[in-house]
Symmetry: C2
Subunit: 246 residues, 2 copies
Amino acid sequence: MEKLKCTVAYDGSRFFGYQVQPGKRTVQREIETALARMHHGQKIKITASGRTDRGVHAVGQVFHFTTPLAIPTGNWTKALNSLLPDDIYIRRTEGVPDGFHARYDVKRKEYRYRILTRGEPDLFRRLYTAHVAQPLDLEKMNRAAAHFLGTHDFSSFCAANTDVKNKVRTIYHLDVHRESEEETVIRIIGGGFLYQMVRIITGTLLDIGTLVLSPEAIPEIIVAKDRGAASKTAPACGLTLWKVTY
Amino acid sequence: MEKLKCTVAYDGSRFFGYQVQPGKRTVQREIETALARMHHGQKIKITASGRTDRGVHAVGQVFHFTTPLAIPTGNWTKALNSLLPDDIYIRRTEGVPDGFHARYDVKRKEYRYRILTRGEPDLFRRLYTAHVAQPLDLEKMNRAAAHFLGTHDFSSFCAANTDVKNKVRTIYHLDVHRESEEETVIRIIGGGFLYQMVRIITGTLLDIGTLVLSPEAIPEIIVAKDRGAASKTAPACGLTLWKVTY
């Protein structure tokens, strides 16, 4: 038996999220289907760094699995890609020690949120950006971003429907920068994130960028520990799981 | 009765082309369905500058229609967009004289073909670019492009299955340029194009860019008046109808 770690990109647009759900097209199901074909019908379970919601993309999601097949590690990527649909792409496969775990061993996760800021929406970027029809005050957004850094109880930035008890998380990096004339990117790196936390932080930063909220409101919103204190959840399509570090 | 001209963008990925086909999702059908809703069920036929194939996109397709409704011209765009699916977007609506015809009055059409040149494919650009895994020799492609300019019989660059007899067309502009590190764009402007002509010219230019063919082969291919003399048809997804001029 060999343990393998795969780095995978996917276009979340046509998936009902990452995790297997009965009767739904999900990323996990497509990958497990491809693996079953390679294993002559034998079910091979994969374990990812975490799930992503419906419509959320990935550039560097990571999963592991164990296989009885003696295929050279270098051949796995091509073999899997040839069996996967065109909205999933395995970028790398590497052997890992038996003790490796794609979820428990995560040190940092980076997400990026892409915003299209111009009057008209853009059809060709609708699946990969969130559209904001007005300019954003990046200076104010970055001032607000600084308040999120460090270790806090992020209850205000967690969707209500979750079972997780401990809502203390650490954010190592958060910045907002213009990537081109029309696109602004929010980059966030943390030790782990609560359910919809990145999208709620993004929604709140967007309220700051459009002057609905002041950057100085952030500490109070954090202290409130109340989902109602933060802004709306930003749309899934702008979000990409960028990198997982072990 | 008022005659209106609309400029429309669409993402061709999920359409079976522009033109109505029984039982298929097409751009024309979606627009005519939206118009019928605005006209209390009355069928309103639209006439476009020409059809586009399955998977081909548009930034500036144009169509006209006549309406008995007395809606201020400025309100049509919003009203139509509110009824259209998210992969069609009306950019502008303007009143035109009774004599205007979206197909017969075309003076020039511009198409752009987008190519991703890098080793790995890119999931997030797969619907809007054609992937070529090796670098392209743009100098050679532009030398070849010059041979297409002017008025020629383009039989060699027309798909076999067409009823059109007169295959003489005029090309006003054709160039290949790098738009970013990874993207190369072919821009072509002509008085009109034969069936799949832009994609066959593109396929031939790609053979020149990858050194399969020499730029000096073009005059002979044109003179041959034989589809077999030119290269493969390039994939639909890289192609966008950019602009129609009247």
